[in-house]
Amino acid sequence: MLREKRADEIKAILAKYPPDRKRSAVMPLLYLAQEEYGYCSPEAMREVAEILNLDPTEVKSIVGFYTMFFEHPVGKYVIDVCDDLPCALRGADKFVTHCERKLGVRAGQTTPDGKFTLRTVMCIAACDRAPVIQVNRVYHYDMTEASFDQLVDALAREDGAEHVNPREE
């Protein structure tokens, strides 16, 4: 149960908003629930609804509205590749095709071992560093086919690879 396991975080989230405006906490709580359950499962949504005194169907419609809440189970690593126009002008489409081949799935699918979900996304505000991806919301800039393979292999081995070529100051 979210309420017991993440009690402190829930309290901290609720404290950000006026006491009579708890509903504002629905998105941060959904992130929390998603972290706990891997996706916005029916239980997760029900728990969030309970905490905020909302109807579960309302929570469900909010989950459905945004691309970053998952209504269905996803891979352990969600890889978002931007193929919007500015990135596509710098080779993003070809790069996505490579990602699909490397992972053996189409964009929008999860690998059979449940490890990776590949998605294409609209602009993620890093167009000067294309091709650019996010793995569980962590940016990886200036990707190449080789650095993608390296990253995926490292994640598959679970050696904690977090960043590929972040730009340092």
């Binding site: 998105m27 419609s61 596509a88 489409d93 609209m122 505000a125 000067d128 996010q134 919301r137 940016y139």
Partner: protein, 463 residues
């Protein structure tokens, strides 16, 4: 902790906003403090009335950097007297394709943003500010939160700030992937825990915004301008820019150039051509085909407009807008039909679905582009696209629907011959270089057949 994001293009002796280019590690509070950090905040709290802060921002002529270019000080003065509490909401949704300036400010110079938020809170006497960041800014949000925590620890935020009696709190709120939440009323709905859909205006947020209370909403870059204005004064600020477009602006340059990145420049000083030169020129020095001055949302400008000056008035006179100044550069290798389809796909994806003209128009617009790009288009389909866009124009509930018409109408206007040549060269579903994308998106099957059964349908009647 979030990594540092940002380009290091030195375009000014001393940058006003991208100070991370000049000062290494200015994201850290001690470095920021050693470079005039929080000096404007101390000055305001110790020697200025809230109205005086509003006055200096008004005099500076600062205009909103989120797209509309509305004068910031004027907006602040719309807050009704005697209605409390008030809120300051910071727009960090930054989702316009080609825009990545707020990203660099947050990662590279977060304290200047925080100081700008604090000054804004003081100016309009708000005790709480929410910073709405797009959900993908998970890492920048951590950088900003760390900076906020540092500022609390030094007494710049919190109760009775610096002994002034003023209380202020700043909270970050993460979105979750929806371009429409950058539109200010949709942003407020999202922040309130409702669906992120636009609301009717009036009432404007200044009168009834967050929780139906008076609310100032400004873009990240807008607020980063405020500390130097308060510290050095309106005249100092006006040394940059033009009479009507004062100050400096961050230009995001992306697409077919050698050195894409952020370039901070005085408004009105340089031309689009010079901006492209600063970005290293085009890849392989190809001729420029067109420029999108505000990502997907503004009409494309053809190469003949390259000598347009970079300010609000000049770009408008040239037939486009400055908007968020996200310059996407297309060279002559770019297929305009493909590029337009990418933009229409963006709007189809991001339409919030609240009103019919936008929801249906972007859907059918994309379908027509799918048909053309996959090699099944006709000349009539080109007209049909223009027809779909014209039917949307002026009928949509918010500006997103209006924005969506501009890639369709402006590319057909300037490049109709290319559309026709493409249609003629790809008759009968001839395989072309776009197969992978079109298969991925479910437009054609592996054999190149159109999957969606609308070939030849006169779709615009569904609007």
């Amino acid at each position: 902790m979030g990594g540092y994001y940002g380009s290091k293009n030195k375009t000014m002796e001393q940058h006003v906003l991208l100070r991370d280019v000049d000062v290494p590690n200015i994201r850290e509070i001690d470095v920021y403090l050693a470079h005039d950090g929080y000096a404007a905040w101390k000055k305001a709290l110790s020697s200025m009335k809230p109205e005086e802060v509003i006055a200096v921002v008004k005099d500076s002529g600062l205009r909103g950097r989120g797209g509309a270019g509305f004068p910031t000080g004027v907006k602040w003065s719309f807050i009704p007297k005697d209605v409390f509490p008030r809120y300051v909401v910071v727009n960090g949704d930054e989702s316009e394709a080609g825009t990545f300036k707020d990203h660099q400010i947050i990662d590279g110079n977060p304290h200047q943003l925080i100081e700008g938020i604090l000054l804004t809170c003081y100016a309009v006497q708000a005790n709480v500010a929410y910073v709405y960041l797009r959900g993908e800014f998970y890492e920048p949000a951590r950088t900003l939160q760390k900076a906020i925590d540092e500022a609390y620890a030094r007494g710049f935020i919190g109760k009775n700030v610096l002994g002034s009696g003023f209380n202020v709190d700043i909270y970050i709120h993460l979105g979750a992937g929806a371009y429409i939440c950058g539109e200010e009323t949709a942003l407020l709905s999202s922040l309130e825990g409702q669906l992120g859909q636009p609301r009717l205006r009036p009432p404007f947020p200044a009168v009834q915004g967050l929780y139906a209370k008076p609310t100032v909403i400004n873009n990240v870059e807008t607020l980063a301008n405020v500390p130097p204005i308060v510290l050095h004064g309106a005249q100092w600020y006006r040394q940059f820019g033009t009479e009507k477009s004062p100050g400096t602006k961050i230009f995001c340059v992306s697409g077919r150039v050698k050195r894409p990145g952020n370039y901070e420049l005085p408004l009105g000083k340089y031309t689009i051509r010079e901006l492209i030169e600063m970005a290293g020129g085009t890849i392989d020095d190809r001729p420029v085909k067109g420029v999108l001055p505000a990502g997907s949302s503004a009409p494309i400008l053809p190469a003949s407009a390259l000598d347009t000056k970079l300010d609000y008035e000049s770009l408008q006179a040239a037939g486009s807008i400055l908007g968020s100044a996200s310059f996407v550069i297309l060279d002559d290798t770019v297929n305009i039909v493909w590029a337009a389809r990418k933009m229409v796909r963006f709007f189809k994806h991001e339409s919030c679905g609240k009103c019919t003209p936008c929801r249906e128009g972007t859907y059918w617009g994309l379908r027509l582009y799918d048909k053309i790009l996959s090699g099944y288009g006709t000349r009539e389909d080109i007209d049909m696209i223009a027809e779909v866009a014209s039917q949307m124009s002026g009928k949509c509930f918010c500006l997103l629907g209006e924005f969506a018409t501009s890639p369709m109408l402006s590319t057909i206007k300037h490049f109709r011959d290319e559309y026709e040549a493409f249609v003629a060269a790809h008759q009968g579903g001839r395989r072309n270089g776009y197969d992978d994308e079109l298969i991925r998106e479910g437009v054609i099957d592996e054999a190149g057949n159109l999957i969606i059964g609308y070939v030849g349908q006169k779709t615009a009647h569904h609007l």
